[in-house]
Symmetry: C2
Subunit: 133 residues, 2 copies
């Protein structure tokens, strides 16, 4: 299991030059994948320490599958891989942002992004992004 | 407490026209805020049912503060509000994407985005996005 140094407190965590991920009680941090070209947000998933380390080492997005309880190299079976161009981490280091070159659709439904449905403000039925089906 | 209909299983959840948020064990879903103009991902936070309902009703981003244990109208004290232009929800409905017009910096550090640090692939020190300080 990969070990990272522990998170610091308050503003020290915001300003540290060290990667000190703040994993939750399940040992996970949130990971947002964004298309490096279009800027579209593609999906949100989770990483444990090994997934984060593997993503950095291989530049291929690797998550932790909470349903399967195992490392999940995105696209390993579907071919819909994510080549990681840049990794960012947020102020308190409990979320990472991956800028990726996405092969095929990011969503398991086959759509380009998991965020294909729009929630109307008035409580009416969800609508679909017409470009994503 | 706002009540939404319960999530469905598998592909029924992916295709339902109903807003059926899948809250975690703490009653929360992830919320990603993205700048509606630039496409920059600004922050990730959490929403309970009331926060999601308030965001839709007021078009002002409202989260659940896990540290304070209360609803958090973004910018209520700082003035750094988020006017919500569009809300999207992902396939399994455990994450929402807000497209916002951000007043001031989204990050509590004063920076434009919480994702101001880049994680190098080689394990060296985090670098800063020069435009964000």
């Amino acid at each position: 299991m990969t070990q990272f140094p522990p998170p610091l407190s308050g503003s020290a965590q915001d300003e540290t030059p060290d990667l000190r991920p703040k994993f939750n009680a399940d040992g996970l941090i949130a990971a947002i994948a964004q298309d490096a070209g279009s800027g579209d947000v593609l999906m949100m998933a989770w990483m444990n320490a090994d997934a984060l380390a593997a993503t950095l080492a291989t530049r291929r997005a690797t998550y932790w599958s909470r349903s399967r309880g195992e490392l999940w190299v995105k696209g390993e079976t579907s071919g819909h891989t994510q080549e990681v161009v840049e990794v960012r981490i947020d102020c308190d280091q409990d979320a990472v942002l991956l800028k990726v070159k996405q092969a095929g659709g990011a969503c398991h439904t086959g759509r380009a992004s998991c965020f294909y449905r729009i929630v109307p403000f008035d409580g009416s039925a969800l609508s679909h992004d017409q470009d994503m089906g």
